[in-house]
């Protein structure tokens, strides 16, 4: 080896120079350019059809200054603040009830969607339910709920519970699939029934994860319940929508600050509780 390489550059003429090109992550270079081209075409097509022009954009920025100007300072009159508090409590109450209701409905779906526990037909049915509830945005659900059930917090609770199903069942089913089946078999082997083996073999393994997920979803539900009021489904969003329609932008600002504060507190509480239970 040593003698071979003693004059590395001298031994090689220009004729037998090797070349190197960076290998592509795609199947070949043509695929690579095709993918890049397709992505660029998609972007170009999008920009073109949305007709986003610098002029429109800049004049919008100008209005932005006016908007911010009319938002400041936020409305803090006592009557306004009182209404804000009232609606905020409603918002939190909605999130509480919706979380409990949503999780109650999610539990059977989650067990049904756990491949290691549930029989095949149930599994597919549950997975289908999860996909469908996840794909439709919460606000669309809320609008339909408002039409079906009338204005007010009930529509919001139904919408938020509905969105909870997809999220909670999916993640909880994944936790159920991760459990150690050895323990379940051991309990089974003692002659326990299917239900008993669930209680003794499965439940203890997943209780901490369950609690963590529940709190996490509660945090997300607080966010959602601040919004559903925009379509009339109760909570602080109702106030936001009303202030917006009356051009009371200073009140809009106050409501937004309140929403951000509540969301942050919920996020913090959820993080602390999750750290403790897991």
């Amino acid at each position: 080896m040593a003698t071979e390489s003693s004059s590395p550059t001298g031994s090689t003429g220009a004729a037998d120079r090797r070349t190197w090109r960076r290998p592509t992550a795609f199947r070949n270079r043509y695929t690579k350019w095709a993918v890049y081209g397709a992505v660029l075409a998609l972007i170009a097509w999008s920009v073109a059809s949305l007709r986003i022009t610098p002029g429109r954009f800049l004049s919008g920025i100008g209005y932005g200054y006016e908007l911010i100007d009319s938002m400041l300072p936020p409305e803090t009159g006592s009557e306004y603040t009182l209404r804000l508090f009232d609606r905020m409590i409603e918002t939190i109450a909605m999130a509480m009830v919706a979380t409990v209701a949503g999780i109650a409905i999610s539990l059977p779906v989650a067990f049904g969607a756990a491949e290691n526990i549930s029989p095949k037909p149930t599994y597919y049915l549950s997975r289908g339910t999860i996909s469908a509830t996840r794909a439709i945005d919460g606000l669309i659900v809320a609008i339909i709920a408002v039409i079906a059930l009338g204005f007010g917090p009930l529509a919001g609770i139904v919408a938020i519970s509905f969105k909870t199903i997809g999220f909670f069942s999916k993640l909880f089913a994944e936790d159920l699939e991760d459990i150690d089946m050895g323990g379940v078999e051991a309990v089974r082997a003692t002659g326990a029934s299917r239900f008993q083996s669930l209680v003794y073999g499965v439940v203890p393994q997943v209780v901490p994860r369950f609690a963590g997920l529940a709190v996490y979803r509660w945090d997300i539900n607080i966010r959602s319940s601040t919004i559903v009021g925009i379509v009339g489904a109760g909570g602080i969003g109702v106030l936001l929508q009303r202030a917006y329609q009356r051009y009371e932008y200073d009140y809009v600002a106050a409501i937004l600050v309140a929403i951000i504060a509540v969301v942050l507190v919920a996020e913090f509480v959820s993080a602390v509780v999750r750290r403790r239970v897991q």
Partner: protein, 264 residues
């Protein structure tokens, strides 16, 4: 009971008290919430029937309407595409100042956290309300709302990725005498590229879903048609549109999952 001298229970007394207390508080809060909301139980018992009735009026879906939905569905995807790209461009510097190991000083760090928090705490639809005031109704407001809402998400996760960078790899390149630009291209970009591409595609997929509702406040997309149909109680059109939305969302979810699997 005969001869039972030892007792066993799963938790000791204090722990049990703590657990029971926690459950009681939770129950009390939920019951209190229910009371506060002041909804009559009768209302709740009729709800399933009313929802069922609504679904009954939705079948069969009015497939004939769907050709009219192609344009708005395309616009929904376009809003997500442009919104996501704009968000990535704006999120990159924010991620840089939000990552503890690259932020220049405490003030920039705080600024980064502030942008992330505000962007994430305000829902797309609220951003859309504000931008409709600025840009007027239409897809531009929806695109900007989508972008602004996505900055926080992208900057937060990208910032976490930057915090994970292995500086040994950067040091190895630096030791060869590379320039700062080369360090970036050779030592840093390869480390965050998979995350950047993966997160962007993932956020695009979330944004497709979020863009379906922008129409409610007049910010473009399929939502405009959907809410017109709802307002005119054209339930069979609504169900056809919902199924179309479901299809688009599932396809973009599939594309996004495929792309993220490929990039590593």
């Amino acid at each position: 009971m005969a001869g039972a001298t030892r007792e066993w229970s799963r938790f000791d007394a204090r722990e049990r008290l703590f657990r029971i207390g926690g459950v009681l508080v939770a129950v009390a809060v939920v019951v209190g919430s229910w009371e506060w909301l002041d909804m009559s139980l009768q209302y709740v018992t009729t709800a399933p029937a009313q929802v069922g009735d609504l679904f009954g009026r939705m079948v069969p879906p009015d497939w004939g309407y769907l050709p009219n939905a192609v344009g708005p569905l395309a616009e929904t995807i376009q809003i997500a595409v442009v919104g996501t790209i704009a968000a990535v461009a704006m999120a990159a510097p924010v991620a840089y100042i939000t990552a503890e190991n690259t932020t220049p000083n405490r003030a920039t760090y705080a600024l980064g956290k502030f942008i992330v928090t505000v962007s994430r705490s305000v829902h797309t639809i609220v951003w859309a309300l504000l931008f409709v005031v600025m840009f007027g109704p239409g897809a531009l407001a929806g695109t900007v709302a989508t972008a602004v809402r996505s900055i926080g998400f992208l900057a937060k996760l990208l910032g976490e990725e930057i915090e994970e960078i292995d500086f040994g790899q950067v040091e190895g390149v630096r030791a060869t005498g590379a320039s700062p630009a080369q360090l970036l291209v050779y030592g840093i970009v390869p480390q965050i590229k998979p995350a950047l591409v993966g997160l962007s595609v993932y956020r695009w997929d979330i944004n497709v879903r979020a863009a379906t509702i922008l129409g409610f406040v007049g910010a473009g997309g399929i939502g405009v048609q959907l809410f017109e149909a709802i307002d005119s109680f054209a339930w069979r059109t609504v169900s056809a549109l919902l199924i179309a939305i479901l299809g688009v969302v599932l396809v973009s979810e599939g594309v996004s999952a495929y792309a993220r699997r490929k990039v590593r």
